[in-house]
Amino acid sequence: MKHQLLFVEDGIAIIRLRGELDHHATQLIRDEISQSLYRGTLRAIIWNLKELHFMDSAGIGLILGRMRDFVPSNGQTVILHPSETMKKIFQYSGLGSYVWPTTEEETIAELGGIFNGQ
């Protein structure tokens, strides 16, 4: 399990998950992701799952956990490029509406537009 954490455009974090995300993998990466996210003031987290080959309900726990941390600061969560099976898992878990059909760039532009201008 590998992941990459990027910070772009003040306050937007992108987490690119790779490999297989199960209970074992979340135990290995949760603390690191949590601590990194606490470092800055965030207004959005983008989870990019393009390179993720497998995810079970542990992935839901990981994303929901970060969303809960995030509630006080009113942050937004976006999930990109889940597989068909992952999409179903998000739907069953009530996270279906956080899945966007956009690319990373489009998502950042969209979030920038929402938060900067109007």
């Binding site: 074992h24 309900s57 542990a58 839901i60």
Partner: protein, 150 residues
Amino acid sequence: MDNEMTLSFIAISENEGLARMVMTSFISSLDPTIDELAEFKTIVSEAVTNAIIHGYEEDGEGIVTIRAKRNGQTITMTISDEGRGIPNVEQAMEPLYTSKPERERSGMGFTIMESFSDHLSVWSEPQKGTSITFSKEFLPIQSNLVLGER
């Protein structure tokens, strides 16, 4: 019976990946689609994770056993442990219920297993253990082609 196998391993989280890998090999002759395989692996992963963390609390001593059969296009599998058991199976199967919220468990395991399998049953008795049995049919690729031609 076309094929039959048993796999046993100790209750450490590393073995969640091992179970998925072995079971993927076991069903490979059925030529599953990408989605069928992903759903199957998810069921295996949820059931094995349940046994490791809820049955044995990852003690590294308890034994998780998978028994699987392939009969035609159908896989039937039982994942069992001899751990602490589930006091209330009905409650455990409710969406979003988790006995371990502090561990960031989503409580979606049983819902996902039920949704991705054709049939699922759970046996559990406190201090004796838990067995999850499920079956899943894999559509033969041939029949898809025939339907497409018509």
